[in-house]
């Protein structure tokens, strides 16, 4: 019994000093402020959108505002999901991608019925009280820390030997607690005690409110229902199967038009050379034979090069030594100077490594073709939350668009087959940053 109490007390008292508390606090600060801001943005857009569309004249403007609110709702949802993943290591799958309809009415219809967007807005609205508690927790922790310094503060700066006493004012963190006025050093100990209690209480309050926030994130920002998840999986499975079939077709085509054709030409040249040699050396047409053998030699060398390229295209040998070395090899052969920074703590599954490698290869090729950049940076690292993050950035002209560049869209599809995601940030004028996130296991 006494043992248990000591253990529990120990846990309670040690809480503020754990890394977890630091992360939870950080989430309270960042997530809480983002929550407050998101609430007002969502509320204003929604109220204006609904209000204006209710009036006859403003319908068009109102609907525009409403679609804007829904777009923003999706973005806010994504932001909060990312914060939870980044700071809390709490990963929730993204809802299915928005599928734009055709025509103005079709688009509008899809937007208005975009459940993920409405849920993003709901989260933003529900988040306000949660965010208030989160912000309160972080304030309490900060005030508590300040209170803790008072005894030292008194000794260093307020040690008056006589004359008027300047009272120290300690703020208590309870809403109705009022302020403590302190006239003596022992008084500061009381302030320090309140501070200590505040810090400990704030740590636990942060944890508690974040448990609730996690629930909300999962409930409102994840894939809606099992059915939606299933349809998403069906879609990505189709993509995966098609992608594999297309890859095999490509290999066959490359073989047929490349190595096979060159080897046939090689055989033909050698056959002709043998003919020219005749049955005895006397009648050999040496000049022609030499020419034919030269041609055959060329065919053989070209066929080898073709086969090497093809083999590398199927599985780059450097990948056997891990992504870092494979990407270094890739960067070394880039036409635009490319640097790699890799920090891979946990080795991803081979399929994930392959996808990451070919994503990087494609992104480098894209940058080389379109960006007019002077420099490409490749950053790859694993994150605590079990995510492999690849970032390829260049200092080029920007303007890369997921919707227009079929290469990028194809890449996004391939990445989505393993529940990964691809984001493009490429304003006109640059820089372009493409981020690919993949789970460590396929």
């Amino acid at each position: 019994m006494g043992e248990d109490i000591r253990r529990v007390t120990g846990t309670i008292l040690r809480a503020p000093f754990t890394r977890r508390t630091v992360r939870e606090m950080l989430y309270c600060g960042v997530g809480g402020l983002a929550g407050v801001a998101g609430f007002w943005i969502a509320l204003v857009l929604l109220v204006f959108g609904l209000g204006v569309s209710a009036s006859v004249l403003g319908t068009v403007v109102g609907l525009l505002l409403l679609t804007l609110a829904l777009r923003v709702g999706r973005r806010l949802g994504a932001l909060h999901r990312r914060l939870a993943s980044w700071l809390l290591g709490y990963r929730v799958d993204a809802p299915p991608k928005f599928q734009p309809g055709t025509g103005i009415l079709g688009r509008l219809d899809r937007r208005l019925r975009d459940r993920a967007a409405w849920r993003g807005i709901s989260y933003s609205l529900v988040k306000l009280p949660v965010a208030a508690v989160q912000v309160y927790a972080i304030c309490a922790a900060v005030i508590g820390l300040v209170d803790l310094t008072y005894p030292v503060d008194w000794v260093l700066f307020r040690h008056h030997s006589g004359g008027r006493l300047n009272p120290l004012i300690a703020v208590t963190t309870l809403p109705a607690g009022g302020n403590l006025k302190i006239y003596s050093w022992p008084g500061t100990l009381l302030a320090a005690l309140t501070g200590a209690v505040s810090v400990i209480a704030a740590s636990w309050l942060a944890r508690a409110i974040n448990v609730g926030d996690r629930r909300l994130v999962r409930g409102l920002l994840g894939p809606t229902t099992m059915a939606e998840r299933v349809s998403e999986l069906e879609r990505t499975r189709t993509l995966a199967v098609e992608d594999a079939a297309a890859a095999l077709r490509r290999v066959e085509r490359d073989l047929h038009d490349g190595a096979q054709m060159r080897l046939a030409a090689l055989a033909m040249n050698l056959g002709m050379a043998r003919e020219k040699l005749g049955d005895d050396d006397e009648h050999a047409d040496n000049a022609t034979v030499r020419e034919l053998i030269d041609a055959a030699h060329h065919n053989a060398v070209d066929a080898l090069a073709d086969l090497r390229d093809l083999a590398r295209g199927i599985h780059p040998p450097a990948l056997d030594n891990g992504l870092a070395s494979a990407l270094a090899t890739l960067a070394a052969s880039s036409a635009i100077p490319a640097t790699v920074r890799a920090d891979i703590e946990q080795r991803p599954a081979p399929a994930i490594e392959t996808i990451a490698y070919f994503s990087a290869a494609e992104l480098i090729a894209n940058a080389t073709k379109h960006s007019y950049a002077n420099e490409i940076k490749i950053d790859i690292h694993t994150e605590r939350s079990g995510v492999l993050r690849l970032e390829v950035s260049d200092d080029g002209i920007g303007g890369a668009d997921l919707a227009r560049g079929s290469g990028l869209a194809g890449l996004a599809q391939r990445v989505s087959t393993v529940d990964g995601r691809l984001d493009v940030s490429s304003p006109p004028g640059g820089p372009t940053i493409v981020t690919v996130e993949l789970p460590l296991k396929a």
């Binding site: 030409a265 033909m268 050698l270 056959g271 003919e275």
Partner: protein, 214 residues
């Protein structure tokens, strides 16, 4: 022999042209797709056309379709399909209208210039030239029916060479036996398969294929 070549890979197109011209044949035209092939044959009326199966624009069976059209419109022109693969269904389509003046060879076969040109000459003269691969595919396809089980290994060898379009003399040379021995094998094969011995090489091929094809 006057030849038209349809092949989209420049390396092989030029190689073939040179190979045939070296041997004293005349290459009237070397084109890169099916439509151009039909036009060239209409213009030059060659003895034989060498046709790659996969050509632009779709890179699937352009050459086969052009070959079938040639067979219909210009029956006097022999057609040698020339490909990196042997597809049994292509063989069947090509042979539907008879085996005269038809050939189907793997591109590998150009390595033996003498045999390749001999096969081409055979097709130009209204004969048949089927790749050993075609024949062995057909053999495999028909094996489960067990009809060939009664043949001795030697007879099977002879049958395969017959199916390629070889004459008895050619078979004798290939197997290094006397012409009489080959005749005996052929008679025995026809007897075992219940086929009346034919007069020309083509009818032998047809008979063999009809049996093999089912």
């Amino acid at each position: 022999m006057r030849v038209v070549i349809a092949e989209d890979a420049a390396l092989l197109r030029e190689g073939l042209t040179r190979l045939l011209e070296d041997r004293g044949h005349s290459v009237c035209a070397a084109v890169t797709d099916g439509d151009a092939l039909l036009a060239a044959v209409a213009e030059f009326r060659p003895d034989v056309a060498v046709v790659d199966i996969r050509m632009p624009p779709t890179h699937t069976d352009e050459g086969l379709r052009a070959a079938l059209a040639l067979r219909k419109e210009f029956p006097d022109t022999g057609v040698l399909m020339f490909s990196q693969y042997i597809e049994t269904s292509y063989t069947a389509q090509l042979l539907e209208g008879g085996a005269a003046g038809v050939g189907y060879l793997l591109k590998d076969r150009v390595a033996n210039v003498a045999e390749f040109t001999a096969a081409l000459e055979r097709v130009a003269d209204g004969g048949t030239a089927l790749d050993p691969e075609v024949v062995s595919q057909l053999f495999r396809a028909s094996r489960q029916r067990g009809g060939l089980a009664t043949l001795t290994p030697r007879e099977r060898q002879v049958l395969a060479l017959m199916a390629e379009g070889r004459s008895n003399a050619g078979i004798a040379a290939e197997l290094v036996v006397s012409g009489g021995a080959v005749e005996k094998h052929v008679a025995s094969i026809f007897a075992k398969l219940g086929l009346p011995p034919g007069e020309s090489d083509n009818r032998r091929v047809l008979a063999v294929l009809q049996y093999l094809g089912g």
